[in-house]
């Protein structure tokens, strides 16, 4: 569990760093982006393998656990992971999450704690508790990425936030993902790098946990 949380925290941190590096003077640094993606990949592998182990040990437990309590710990972990990201404008909701439609709450102030909701949409994944579903790429995510890949240009890895029509050469999927997910953060000055919040703190989250993990998954799978 600790391992999972740590891995999750590092993934979130890496995504934040990658976004932040694009806003720096001089443009995207290829070497830095590569290093961040390596760390993100390692963190993802670690998270998934830890999750598989945890799942296997849970399977041996009595099965009739209501979904909410099972969801709650992962949600807590996810929400703590999210507090690591800078507070900002609420981005447009994850298209896949038909359930989570918080468009009304697009304020810069941090919103009230979100109730843990089970996404109605079924994920085609074996690890299908709601907290995880975002981590394992679903079919739709893959399709979306495939479109992005086809649309990617092959030159000029170092571009600042390009207009949405262009994809960044080296990391097209990440560019799209970050553009969508963090568009609200564009106007914020970069905050200090997020520090690891204590695991037990459940700070209010600004966006649904699922979509944050989706972001991470997409970013990681892109590499």
């Amino acid at each position: 569990m600790e391992v999972q949380k740590e891995a999750q925290r590092i993934m979130t941190l890496s995504v934040w760093k990658m976004y932040h590096s694009r806003m720096q003077r001089g443009g995207l640094r290829l070497h830095r982006s590569l290093q961040l993606s390596l760390v993100m990949r390692s963190a993802r592998e670690l998270y998934l393998s830890a999750k598989v182990e945890a799942h296997e040990s849970e399977v041996s437990l009595p099965p009739a656990l209501p979904s909410d309590p099972r969801l709650h710990p992962p949600r807590e972990a996810e929400s703590t992971a999210e507090t690591a990201t800078p507070d900002g404008e609420h981005p447009s909701p994850e298209p896949m999450d038909t359930q989570e439609a918080p468009t009304a709450e697009e304020t810069s102030a941090c919103c009230a704690p979100r109730p843990a909701k089970v996404s109605r949409k079924r994920r085609s994944s074996s690890l299908s508790d709601g907290g995880d579903a975002g981590l394992v790429p679903s079919k739709k995510a893959r399709l979306e990425e495939k479109e992005e890949e086809e649309g990617a240009s092959s030159e000029a890895a170092d571009r600042l936030q390009p207009p949405p029509a262009q994809a960044e050469g080296a990391f097209p999927n990440l560019a799209r993902v970050l553009q969508r997910r963090f568009s609200g953060l564009l106007n914020c000055s970069p905050a200090a790098p997020p520090t690891a919040p204590p695991a037990c703190e459940a700070k209010p989250a600004c966006r649904p946990a699922d979509s944050m993990l989706n972001v991470l998954v997409r970013a990681v799978v892109a590499f």
């Binding site: 760093k17 001089g26 290829l30 830095r32 290093q35 963190a43 990617a152 890895a157 170092d158 390009p162």
Partner: protein, 448 residues
């Protein structure tokens, strides 16, 4: 007894000078980004984030009082690079000077190459200590005289004036790099040089600015398959056909330009197998080589990765001949160093003139020297606290764990904002230049 030459530990290092602002509030433009002695050691150049180059010149030794070598004083300051904007890519190009390399002196003027992320410039630094006086048609202040008032003719003569040092850009080598330039290196033929960015290395002729030859290209056809980038490159000091480049994966490739026009296939690949016991989450990124330097002899090369310095014999590819741990106590702190971005710091390294001692920087304004002969190492600090001239520097020690002895510093009290990334060693003497964030320290060995 202090020995003059050789061992980093047998000599006693003394504070000599410190250059730069005293206050703690560091202006970003003043952050030193490169330090380089010229071939004679008489000149010391620094580049900063604001695109400026400052050159210091060593005073001629005072023959009577030979208790210290000459001091370095400002010789010339000029703005080498300005911020630019790439309109095509909507990208700002930083003016930060990434590297300075001196050309060997051929005449009265000095020449150096300076580079930012995209453009390399050849600068001529010349002295003017005479000026012509006595023009017929011009007054001394430059105003033109009324020709009708000229009744006699005279020949203008040169008269001495206060020394003026002028820097002028003689060549501008631009538009050859898509990615960020990390290295430049002048060939031993003194006619060509290479410039390296993340994925490509180009060969230039010093006289020709509108053409360069691509000699290494590691860009994959599909950028999503990118796994490594070039981190540093250098020409061999004696063989004009040989150069090396290091990668983010911890490998070094030696290439021979005689083999083919595009040196994509290396002649030698230097790689040490990873120690499985050290494998961790961040292993991949700390193995990235941040600097590669040939020894003066050309027999060895030194690489710096995040935690260590390695010396390689060019004749042996499978492992380094020597490995020195710079700050092994940081291995357990890699996660925190990732959080505060310190894990991405690119430390440089340098050889002394006789290739017997190597030096590199660390945190808390510490720098380390390793004596290859005695196998001893020393940690010293660049601090204004020791700034009385000829104060001998006290060796420092970091306590990794357990009980901290007196005068030791614990790892947790190290200041990771105070980092020494750039150091340089005089080519002939035991004089070193160590750059902290915005100050340049000059240390010398104690002369009895």
């Amino acid at each position: 007894m202090a020995r003059r030459a050789g061992g980093g530990n047998d000599i006693q290092w003394c504070f000599s000078q410190v250059k730069g602002a005293v206050d703690d509030d560091v202006a970003e433009a003043d952050i030193i980004s490169t330090v380089e002695f010229n071939h004679s050691g008489e000149l010391l150049a620094t580049g900063d984030k604001g695109g400026r180059v400052v050159i210091f010149q060593q005073e001629q030794e005072n023959k009577i009082q030979s208790h210290s070598r000459g001091e370095y004083n400002v010789y010339s300051t000029f703005q080498s690079h300005e911020p630019e904007f790439d309109y095509l890519k909507s990208l700002e190009i930083e003016e930060k000077i990434n590297k300075i390399r001196w050309l060997p002196q051929k005449n009265a003027a000095q020449f150096l190459l300076s580079t930012n992320d995209k453009t390399i410039k050849l600068w001529k630094i010349s002295e003017r200590d005479k000026r012509p006086e006595g023009y017929n048609l011009k007054e001394e202040d430059g105003r033109y005289r009324d020709p009708t008032t000229v009744t006699t003719l005279r020949v203008p003569v040169f008269r001495p004036m206060d020394l003026m040092v002028e820097a002028s850009p003689r060549r501008i080598f631009a538009n050859a790099h898509t990615y960020h330039i990390n290295s430049i290196s002048i060939n031993s033929d003194y006619e060509t040089y290479l410039s390296a960015d993340d994925l490509r290395i180009n060969l230039w002729h010093l006289e020709i600015t509108d053409r360069s030859f691509n000699i290494v290209d590691i860009k994959p056809a599909n950028m999503e398959e990118l796994t490594e980038v070039i981190t540093a490159a250098e020409f061999h000091p004696n063989s004009c056909n040989t150069f090396v480049y290091s990668s983010s994966k911890g490998t070094i490739r030696l290439c021979d330009m005689r083999a083919s026009a595009l040196c994509d296939r290396h002649s030698k690949l230097f790689e040490e197998p990873e120690d499985p016991s050290n494998r961790s989450f961040f292993s991949e990124i700390i193995s990235s080589i941040s600097d590669v330097k040939f020894s003066h002899s050309g027999r060895y090369m030194m690489t710096r990765d995040y935690l260590s310095v390695k010396i390689w014999d060019l004749n042996m590819e499978n492992r380094p001949v020597e490995t020195y741990q710079v700050h092994e106590y940081l291995r357990s702190k890699l996660c925190s160093l990732y959080e505060n971005d310190c894990i991405f710091d690119k430390f440089e390294c340098c050889w002394n003139g006789s290739d017997s001692v190597v030096m590199t920087g660390s945190y808390n304004n510490f720098f380390r020297m390793f004596d290859r002969n005695t196998k001893r190492d020393i940690t010293l600090e660049a601090s204004r606290e020791n700034n009385k001239p000829r104060t001998v520097l006290k060796p420092r020690k970091v306590c990794a764990s357990g009980k901290r002895k007196k005068d030791e510093i614990s790892v947790d009290s190290l200041d990771f904002n105070k980092k020494i990334l750039h150091t340089a060693w005089h080519p002939k003497e035991n004089i070193i230049a160590v750059a902290t964030t915005n100050n340049l320290y000059i240390f010398q060995d104690k002369v009895n």
